[in-house]
Amino acid sequence: MTLGQLQAGAGDEFLFHYTDSVRADAIIEERCFVSGPGVARGFGIYATDIPPSGVETIEDVIVHCFGGDATPAEVSHAVVVRRSSGGLQFEQTDDPYQWVLPTGKLELVHIEGIYVATVQFTGSRWVIIDRD
């Protein structure tokens, strides 16, 4: 799987969960998703169809997914997930940029089959640092 293929599948096949380096490591090492405390659109794992494609992606994600309330260090990693796999399915919210995998009040979720890869922003470009 190349970065180009991940970008090409944005929205249709893949979604992107933007997060920081620690949470990305947790996902890489433990396959453990950490859902945030935000409940504006319900508890769950949030993802977007904005693909990691350039320097401007970070700003797009901060504006569209975090309401401008984040720094690049908080969204420097994109965890690529399948839109659906087995019984798991991300649902589009009323926000056109946001999708959610509902988890109830669960904060830590170990999910099989949905993880595809993790991509890191180096400050100038995106590179794949882990694949399933």
Partner: protein, 180 residues
């Protein structure tokens, strides 16, 4: 940690999310829990306020320490020193006084992105500012609180002279401190 604590209270997870393996908070390693705590501090408004003041090359180093250090976070005191230009002794000094955010792995100080951001902020401070920080670090809490009170009163007074929207933006990281 708030997230973990809430997860621990949830005992009916598998019924709520069928066909999904769940991870109880108790199963998270102590090391991962400490790292996740650091990730939470990264979202603190006081830390967010530091980001725009970092130089571009410093922001780049925070986003990707691998290029300079050869591996991902977490970093050691020596690696923070290497990236910031501080000595290792200085890194330990500011870390032990709470100005460089870190966690402990045994006796070793360990640093995540938030630690590097706060370390660069120390590096960027002037000698006068560092002298001021050193002074207040030695103060008893009562005296420190009194000084913070004087500073917030001074800030509130100065804020009266600028646009409310700009004032709100400037003081967002301070929370309740600037409310009279």
């Amino acid at each position: 940690m708030r997230d973990v604590a809430r997860g621990r209270q949830n005992s009916g997870v598998k019924q709520l999310v069928p066909r999904r393996a769940s991870m109880n908070a108790a199963e998270v390693s102590p090391e991962l829990r400490k790292r996740l705590d650091q990730a939470q501090v990264l979202r603190d408004p006081r830390v967010r306020a530091l980001w725009p003041r970092l130089k571009r090359r410093q922001q780049q180093a925070v986003l990707d320490p691998t290029t300079a250090i050869g591996h991902r976070y977490p970093l050691s005191s020596g690696e923070i020193a290497q990236l910031t230009g501080m000595s290792e002794r200085q890194v330990r000094y500011w870390a032990d006084h709470g100005l460089i955010v870190h966690w402990r792995k045994g006796s070793r100080r360990v640093f995540e992105a938030v630690g590097l951001i706060t370390a660069f902020s120390i590096t960027n401070a002037s000698q006068n500012e560092l002298q001021f920080y050193r002074g207040v670090m030695e103060d008893p809490v009562v005296k420190l609180a009194a000084k913070v009170g004087i500073l917030t009163s001074l800030l509130a007074s100065r804020l009266e002279g600028i646009e409310p929207s700009e004032a709100a933006e400037l003081t967002a990281p301070l929370g309740e401190l600037t409310h009279r």
